[in-house]
Symmetry: C2
């Protein structure tokens, strides 16, 4: 599977979630992360997601959306709100959320 999201021509929107995990090693975290990725993909206006994470708990997740309204709706989804509460209480030491408007996008593939 291509880990680079196939997104339409800009403009569209991106949510950058940069996180540092807490020292709590909770097996429920991976289950919830997978569930949130699955659930996000079912939301109206969802365009795709990209994720990379270091072994030391630093991760960047980018989700792409057709509109700011789609982002607002996903943020307020009941099951997502529950996950957000657990994230703040247990899983993350800190995180930043940035909402962006994607102005230009290019993808390149190479033969080495």
């Amino acid at each position: 599977m291509n880990p680079i999201a196939s997104t339409p021509a800009p403009p569209y929107f991106a949510v950058l979630f940069t996180s540092v995990k807490s020292s709590v090693n909770d097996p429920e975290y991976a289950v919830m992360a997978a569930r949130m990725a699955e659930l996000a993909a079912q939301q109206p206006g969802y365009l795709g997601m990209e994720h990379a994470g270091n072994s030391d708990g630093i991760a960047i997740t980018v989700s792409y959306w057709a509109s700011l309204e789609a982002i607002r709706n996903w943020r307020q989804h009941a099951e997502h709100l529950h996950a957000q509460r657990l994230g703040r209480a247990k899983w993350y030491e800190r995180f930043a959320l940035r909402v962006c408007r994607v102005e230009r996008a290019d993808e390149f593939a190479f033969d080495q």
Copy 2:
């Protein structure tokens, strides 16, 4: 060090670089990546950088900039152009570049 960039109040700009490394295992890559991070930080309009990378070669690097002009200047920096050529020729199987305007940003830190 906080892996989350300390950025000013929006609006500002972000370059999302999502990459898949090629199977070439070139020790020069890490040297060049460190050099590019150092050099980017010296450019006018540079605001910060965040990075996360999986062990399987998928990485997301986000750099933050004060203006689109600052992004253009960095893209055209001679030493950066040289690194870009090597990246396309050797180091990456594919990558996406997205230029975004950051509209809203929030950072949270928790005591667990």
